[in-house]
Structures are given as structure tokens and as C-alpha cells.
């Protein structure tokens, strides 16, 4: 298709710009003022708040535009940037993740004497990358966002640079991440080769017509298929679906808890939104060749595998961070069900609840594990439950939320996904998912067994609660209960926003 008008609308990317500028400011500010650790946090938080406010402005803009019937075509920069409720909803999630991540990191950086300015700017850059992924309407842009976000996260994973595990984590993440990026890029290239365009909506048109948009010749379907398969593999890596999940446990275990909390929530959600955009928009149309039916059936199998592998392997883990790593794999499986039900709102809500409870859980772990996070083996926690009752109960609530216990956000997330999927007729998937949820309660309660039911060493001191972890835990608790008890407002916002997004089918 011909290039769209070069629409340089900076207002549409204002949140991105704000966050990027915040990152640069942290870097500069830190360079000139070595002792300004806490100021950096305030810079970051201020940036996040401003970005959040401008995102909210844009949300209202989209709402108004969609009422006028032009909501599906708010694009800028030649269609590189798409402005719709889906991108904005996910941007909100990234900002929340960045917000909690910033607060949580404060004490760990101070205690271990790691330089804060790079950390906070990397956190911001990673967030910008994710935001770009959410709002891109073009494969090139998605790739760009992905790289910005990933490279920053590779560094973050290795931030505890004197710790071998952290180094291992960063290296593994880097190598496997690069591999998956290569898959993605190759897939994008092949799709481009088949369709002659990188713009997602144009790809959809090309596939519908079955012609290459550049040559106007019939499309080479085989190339398209290989490209789509490569994209599936690439995104499978990013959101950690089985069988592309093997990097997750090692990386999550080795990285500092604050970073793990961030990267298990943010980049995963970003992977989901880009995945959604490419597959549900570009590869949606059913044509003479059954592209859509093919990838949906593959993804169904992947979703089932992901849930089962995530949950089953988690059962036998003894390290709390590995348990949560496998649980994050399983959660990707649940979210995929919302994906397959073709309902982005349930995926967004699920990722939001997952992010909040996951960050909360990792915040508790960062405290319980003690100095330099030496004690992540569950056995070392024996009998600590009544000593640090508040922390343990917070962990219990996050774990129950992940298991899908009512009153918590996790339940509402699962409930929404299951409801939507059942409505769309994905009965088998829902049944598999609930059986998996039932099994998952075993390992989510494992920490409680160790904390409360076992006798511990009387002399082990209760862990010291740093105030940054304290604030994070409180916020995450408030979020978990808010999402679980009063999701009505959010539901109606998302409900209204669902159809303003150009999801074909």
C-alpha cells in the first residue's frame, strides 16, 4: 500500500517522550551529583506520574475520537505509531510496573552500594521500549521497542555484578534473548518478503487479498507461513511459553529480586501486547489459505503445554524464585487463553493483576532472602512465619492471589479470562486451565508450609524490613485487594474500550 502521510504528531507519543527524558535526566543528574540517590527516585516517580497523566489525556482523546467514529485510525509517524485503548491500557500497566519497580529498588541499591543513576535510567529506557511496543503499528517499530526494552533489561539482570548468579542470569538472558530476537527479525523479514510491507494493517490487507503489495503478484504462502512460525517462536521466547521457556527459571533466579519483579511483569506484558497486535491484527483475516486457523490451533497447544509444564515443574522446585519463575510461565499460559479468546481487555486486566501481585511477592522475597538474597531456598525460611507475621501474611495473600483465590485481583483476572474464553467456546482450554489452577495451589502454599508449619531455628533473626520494600508491599497489597474487591470501575472502562480497538474477526 502507498505510504501514509508522514504525520508527525508528537502529542501521540508524549508519554514515551516524558519517560525517555526522565531516563536521560536520571543519568545526567546522577553523573553530576553522586549522592543524590533519593532525588533520582523522585525524578523517576515524577516522570512516571507525568507520563501517566498524559496517557490518561490520550485515553480520553481516544474515547472521544471513537465516539466520532474515527477511533480506529488514530495513527502518527506514517502509521508507525497507533493510538488506541489497547496501547494506552498497556502503557498504564508498564507505568505501574515501573513505579513499583522504582520504589522497590531503592533500598537494595543503597544497601549493596550499586550505582543508582544507571539503574534508574535503564529502568526508564526499558519502560520506553515497552511503551513503544504497545503503541506500534508497524513491525519495524515493534522490533525497535523490543530491542530498547530488552537491552536495558539484560543489563538490569546483571546489575548485582559481583554476584555470580546475577552474571549468569544476565548472560543467559542476553544470549537466549538475542536468539529469540533473531527469530523475530527473521520472521518479520519473511513476512515482509511475502507481503511487501511491514505495516500491520497493510499486512492484513495483503493477506486478505493474497497478493504481495509491492509486486502485486500472488503471495508466496510458504514464505508467509515460515515467517509466521518464526514470529511465534520469537514471541514464545519473550513471553516464556513452553517449549521456549527454559531460560526463565535461571534468569529469574539469578537477577536481583527487584529486577526480577520488574522483568517478570513489564516485558512479559509488552511481549503480549506486541504479540496481540501482530497476530490478532495482521494475521487475523481468514483467506483461501487458513492462516488464522493454523496459528490459533498452534497457540492453543502452546497454551495448554505452557500451563501444564509451568505448573508441573513448579511443584518440584525448592527455590522460591524458581517457583515464581515457573508460576510466571503458567500465568503466561492463562493469559494466552484470553489472547485466544480474541479479547485484549481480559489479557490487559490479567497482566495488570499479575504484575501487581508478582511485584508484591518479589518484594516480600527481597526482604525474606536477607542480605544479598542468599536465602532463596525455601528450607532456610523454616519457622519464620510467626516471627515476621506481617511479611508472611503479605506473601500468603500474593500467593493466594496468584492461585486465583477470591477477594484478590488474581481471581478477578482469571475469572475474566475464563468467562471470555468460555463465551467464545474454548471449553477445553478453560477446563485445562482450572485443573492447572487447582494443582498450582500446592506450590503456592508450599512457602506457607515452610513458614508456618515447620519448626525453625529459634536463633535465626527476623529479616529486616526496608522501608522501600515496605511501601512496595503495601501498594501491591492495596492494588491486589482493589482489583479483587472493586474491579467494577476498571471493568466498565475496559468494556467500553474493547471495541474501539481495530481487532478484526
Amino acid at each position: 500500500m502507498q505510504a501514509q502521510a508522514l504525520n508527525l504528531n508528537y502529542y501521540y507519543v508524549l508519554p514515551h517522550i516524558i519517560v525517555a527524558v526522565t531516563g536521560i535526566m536520571s543519568l545526567l543528574f546522577g553523573a553530576f551529583n553522586k549522592k543524590a540517590h533519593r532525588d533520582l527516585v523522585f525524578i523517576n516517580l515524577a516522570g512516571i506520574f507525568t507520563a501517566g497523566a498524559s496517557t490518561w489525556k490520550l485515553w480520553n482523546l481516544v474515547t472521544t475520537a471513537s465516539q466520532d467514529g474515527v477511533g480506529k485510525s488514530l495513527t502518527a509517524f506514517s502509521g508507525m505509531v497507533v493510538l488506541d485503548h489497547m496501547s494506552l491500557a498497556f502503557i498504564f500497566i508498564f507505568l505501574i510496573v515501573a513505579f513499583l519497580g522504582t520504589i522497590l529498588s531503592l533500598n537494595f541499591l543503597e544497601d549493596e552500594d550499586l550505582s543508582p543513576e544507571e539503574f534508574y535510567s535503564l529502568l526508564m529506557f526499558s519502560t520506553v521500549g515497552m511503551m513503544l511496543m504497545a503503541s506500534s503499528g508497524d513491525m519495524v517499530m515493534i522490533f525497535l521497542g523490543l530491542e530498547i526494552s530488552s537491552i536495558a533489561t539484560y543489563v538490569l539482570a546483571g546489575y548485582r555484578r559481583k554476584d555470580l548468579r546475577s552474571n549468569e542470569s544476565a548472560l543467559k538472558y542476553f544470549i537466549l534473548g538475542s536468539l529469540s530476537t533473531a527469530f523475530l527479525l527473521y520472521g518479520m523479514a519473511l513476512v515482509y518478503g511475502a507481503t511487501g510491507t511491514t505495516n500491520l494493517e497493510s499486512i492484513a490487507t495483503a493477506i486478505k487479498q493474497g497478493t504481495n503489495l509491492v509486486t502485486s503478484q500472488p503471495m508466496t504462502v510458504e514464505i508467509l507461513y515460515i515467517g509466521v512460525a518464526m514470529l511465534l517462536v520469537g514471541f514464545g521466547f519473550k513471553i516464556a511459553t513452553a517449549p521456549f521457556h527454559v531460560w526463565t527459571p535461571d534468569v529469574y533466579q539469578g537477577a536481583p529480586s527487584a529486577v526480577t519483579a520488574f522483568m517478570a511483569s513489564g516485558p512479559k506484558a509488552a511481549g503480549f501486547v506486541a504479540f496481540l497486535r501482530i497476530f490478532v491484527i495482521a494475521f487475523a483475516a481468514d483467506t483461501s489459505f487458513e492462516l488464522n486457523a493454523t496459528w490459533t490451533s498452534i497457540l492453543q497447544v502452546l497454551a495448554i503445554l505452557t500451563m501444564i509444564i509451568g505448573n508441573v515443574v513448579a511443584l518440584s522446585q525448592t527455590d522460591i524464585k524458581r517457583i515464581l519463575a515457573y508460576s510466571s510461565i503458567a500465568h503466561a499460559g492463562y493469559a494466552l487463553i484470553g489472547f485466544l479468546a480474541n479479547d485484549w481487555t481480559s489479557v490487559a486486566f490479567y497482566m495488570l493483576t499479575y504484575s501487581v501481585m508478582n511485584i508484591g511477592a518479589f518484594a516480600v522475597i527481597s526482604v525474606m532472602a536477607g542480605k544479598n538474597e542468599q536465602n532463596t531456598e525455601l528450607e532456610t525460611w523454616a519457622g519464620m512465619g510467626f516471627k515476621s507475621l506481617g511479611l508472611s501474611i503479605a506473601l500468603l495473600i500474593f500467593m493466594l492471589s496468584m492461585a486465583g483465590m477470591p477477594l484478590t485481583g488474581g481471581f478477578m483476572g482469571k475469572f475474566l479470562v475464563f468467562k471470555t474464553a468460555w463465551d467464545k467456546g474454548l471449553h477445553a482450554l478453560v477446563i485445562v486451565a482450572v485443573l492447572n489452577s487447582a494443582a498450582s495451589i500446592y506450590y503456592y502454599l508450599r512457602p506457607m508450609v515452610v513458614l508456618f508449619f515447620r519448626e525453625g531455628n529459634e536463633e535465626t533473626p527476623a529479616p529486616l524490613l526496608s522501608w522501600s520494600a515496605y511501601v512496595t508491599i503495601l501498594l501491591a497489597l492495596a492494588g491486589t485487594f482493589y482489583l479483587g474487591l472493586m474491579p467494577g470501575k476498571l471493568f466498565s472502562l475496559l468494556e467500553a474500550a474493547r471495541d474501539t480497538v481495530a481487532l478484526v474477526r
Binding site: 493466594l400 477470591p406 477477594l407 475469572f415 468467562k419 477446563i431 487447582a438 506457607m448 467494577g488 471493568f491
Partner: protein, 516 residues
Amino acid sequence: MNALKPYLLNILVFFPLLGTIVMLMYDQIVGKNEETLKKMALFFSSITFFASLPLIWWYNDPALIVNVPWVETLGINYHLQVDGLSLWLVLLTTFLMPIAILSGWTAIHDKVREYLAFMLVLETGMIGVFLAMDMIVFYLFWEVMLVPMYFLIGVWGGERRIYAAIKFVLYTMVGSLLMLVAIIALYLIHGENQAGGAKATFDMVTITQNLAQYNFLTPTQQFWMFAAFGLAFAIKVPLFPFHTWLPDAHVEAPTAGSVILAGVLLKMGTYGFMRFNLPMFPEAAHQFAVPIMILAVIGIIYGALVAMVQPDMKKLIAYSSVSHLGFVMLGMFAFTEMGMQGSLYQMLNHGVSSGALFLIVGMVYERRHTRQIADFGGLATPMPLFATLFLIIAFSSIGLPLLNGFVGEFLILIGTFNSTYSRAFAAFATTGVILSAIYMLWMVQRVVFGEITNEKNRHLQDLNLREKIILVPIVILIVFMGVYPSFFLNRTSEKVNEIRKVVETHKTTTPVATTN
């Protein structure tokens, strides 16, 4: 008093929770004082009990209903209501709770604050389950109640407590998550049908009415939903062969936990059958009736036989629960007024008698730190009052006339005999009555009567004041329920007949196999 009515149900649900919060805060302010904490818990649970008493007269009053929107986009309402079905179960809960708290007065010295907090949260959950009239709210209480029970077993339980606690949670979760799927499916189907201008809602009253009126579920849908709800409830009841979690949980739980488990938690399963399965899926209920009755009869006989050979008193009572709950299920699926009334009555009887038996075991365990029947003998000599009360409670469990058990079992057996189903069910179930007399009396005989075989038993203290306060109200209730059952049954008959009529009018002759 009337001004209280709109708040009463909320008070019942949340007053215990308030107690939890106050106790946790109190500890922060004043410091640890076991005695005060226990008194506070007793206070909160007793107030809840007294607050629940007016329900006996008000239960049909529409002024009691609480119904406010919760999540409007999905049609979830916070809907609490009490009716003939839930009335006595709520009262059973509130009645047993102070007793359970008293029972742990001297036995629990470890982490008292947390123990009592969990007990009160548990009470909130149980009352919520019985009062909830919205499927999501019901599911919420149903699930949330697992957590305190899990901790009660896991922290204050016996030797194999971790295994028992996890088994209890896993079994329940599998069933209840499938129930969640059925709830979602029912909600979606009901919403799509728009029968009678119905909006998508999780409201149980509305859905039950619309289902009865428009009957928009296909037989296959009914079949699967009955199965999904039924599995969750059958695990909780527990219906043979889903009962294996029960002996473990009962034996490992602390006395108060066992009392609540036997007294109330198991009733949530049978209550669920009456509340959901029968009125909502009546055709499927007919299809499932025979298999369930067969399982119930197997449970009656199997539970009794296994109970007979148990050397451990707690285990014996646990298996007797399997047997007694079999009666409840049998009577319910007879679909006759007598059977169903008896079933409901037997739920209460079992709650009172089994709860009391667990209390009795707890009392001897506190004195001797063993529950093996073989370690006892001749307890009547040092503990005459104990022996008397034990005997009365055992008789009530067996079903001696003039005591409560008799009324329930008699109604169930007659109801089953007169039902359209084979009379063999009643005949086989009757053997359960005989067997129960055997294992109960044999246990009583070996524990209470005869010569004192163990010198340690010679100087045991008889019941102290606290234990008298625990047991005497129960024994009074046992006798009262035995001689004046109409006080209870009059209040349940309307609702039970309503359910029975729904089931009766939807009778089809389709056998199970052809519906798939």
C-alpha cells in the same frame, strides 16, 4: 429491633471478622495475654450466636435481604438472604463456634492470637456460604474459608498435619474450580437466553426462578453442570469415593477444627446439593439420583464397617461421618418430602452429635494425650458425669428414639422407602443404623465401662466447669431436637417442598446414557 433487620445478616457475617481485626489490633496495643484474647474471641462468637437467634422467627422476612450491586458490568450482586434451607445451618454454625472456641481453652497455648483469629475468619466464611445468594459471593466465601481451615490443621494439628492440610485444600480446590467453570457457563447461558427479560446475572434466586420457569438448559448442559457442581459438593460432603481427605483432616485437626469440620464444613456440601443441584438442574437430578443413592448406600455401609475396626477414636468418628452423611445424601435424592426433610434434619443432627463426639475425644485427649481406644477402659468410675454425657451423645449418634438422631434417620428411611426408587436402598441403609449401634456402643463400652485396665486412668478428673458449659447445652439440644422436631421441621418444610416440587415437575424418563 425492627430497625436492626436490614443489618442483621451483615452483622452475622462480619462481626466475627471484626473480632479478628480487634484481636490483632489489641495485641499490638496491650501485649499478649492469652486469657483476654480467648475471652474476646468467645465474646465475639457468642454475640454472633445471640444475634442469629432472632432469625428463627424472622427468617422469611424480606426486610432482612441485603442486595446491592457489586460489579455491575458483570451482574455480580452482594446478595445475602436467609431462608428455610439455610436458617438452621446458620444457627448451627453460630452455636458451634463459641463451643469450639471454649474447647481449645486449655489445649491451645501456642500462637493463641493467630489461632483465634483464624477461627473467627472461618466463622465469617461459613456463615457467608450459607447466606450468599449470588453465585460469585457464594464461591468467594466457599474458597476463602479454605485458608483458615488450612492453617488450623497445618499449624495446630497433629503429627501428619502438613499432609492432611494440603490434601484437604487440594481436594476442595479441584472440585470448586470446576464449579467455578459451571458457574460461568450457567451465567453465560442464562444471560444469552434473556428469558423473561433476564439480564446476565449471578444472582441465584433469579437464576433458579428463571430456570424453573423457562427451563432453557438442554439436557446435556444440565448433565454437565450437575456434574460440575455435584463434584465440588460431593467432595465436601464427602460422598464415597471422594471421602479420603476426611479421615486425614479430621484426625490431624485440633479439636476445635474437627468440631467445625464435622459440624459445619461437611454440611456445606449437602447444602450445596439442595441449593444448586436440585432446584437448578432437576432433570439431571433424576438422572443422577440412582448413582448417587448407590454411592450413598455404599458410603453408609463402608463408613460404618471401617469405623468399626478403628483403634483411634477420632478416626472412628471420622468414618462414622462418612456413614452419616451417606444418610443425608440418600434422603435428599429420594425426592420425597420426608426424605428431604429428614436429610436436612440429619445435617443438623450430625453437626451437633459429631461435633459433640469430637469434643468428648478432645477432653480425654487433653487428660491422657492419647486417642487409642485400647488405652482406656472403665472411665465411668473416675468420671461418672463424663460417662453419662458420652453415652447420651453416642445414643444420639446411633439414633435412639427421643434423641435427635432418631428423627432424622427415621424420616430418611421412610422417605427413601416410599420413594419411586428401589426399596432396596432403604433396606441396605437400615443396616447402617445397626452397624452404627455396633461401632458406637462398642467404643463406648471399651472406653467407659468395664474394669480400669490402665492405672493412669484411675485418677482422672471428671468434667470441670468449662467442659460442663460445653457439653450441657449440646445435650439439651440433642434432647430438644429429639422430642420437638416440628419446631425445626415446620420452618424448613416450605422451602424443602418448593425444591421438591421443582424436581418433581421436571421428571423425565431419559436415561443418562442417551443424553450425550
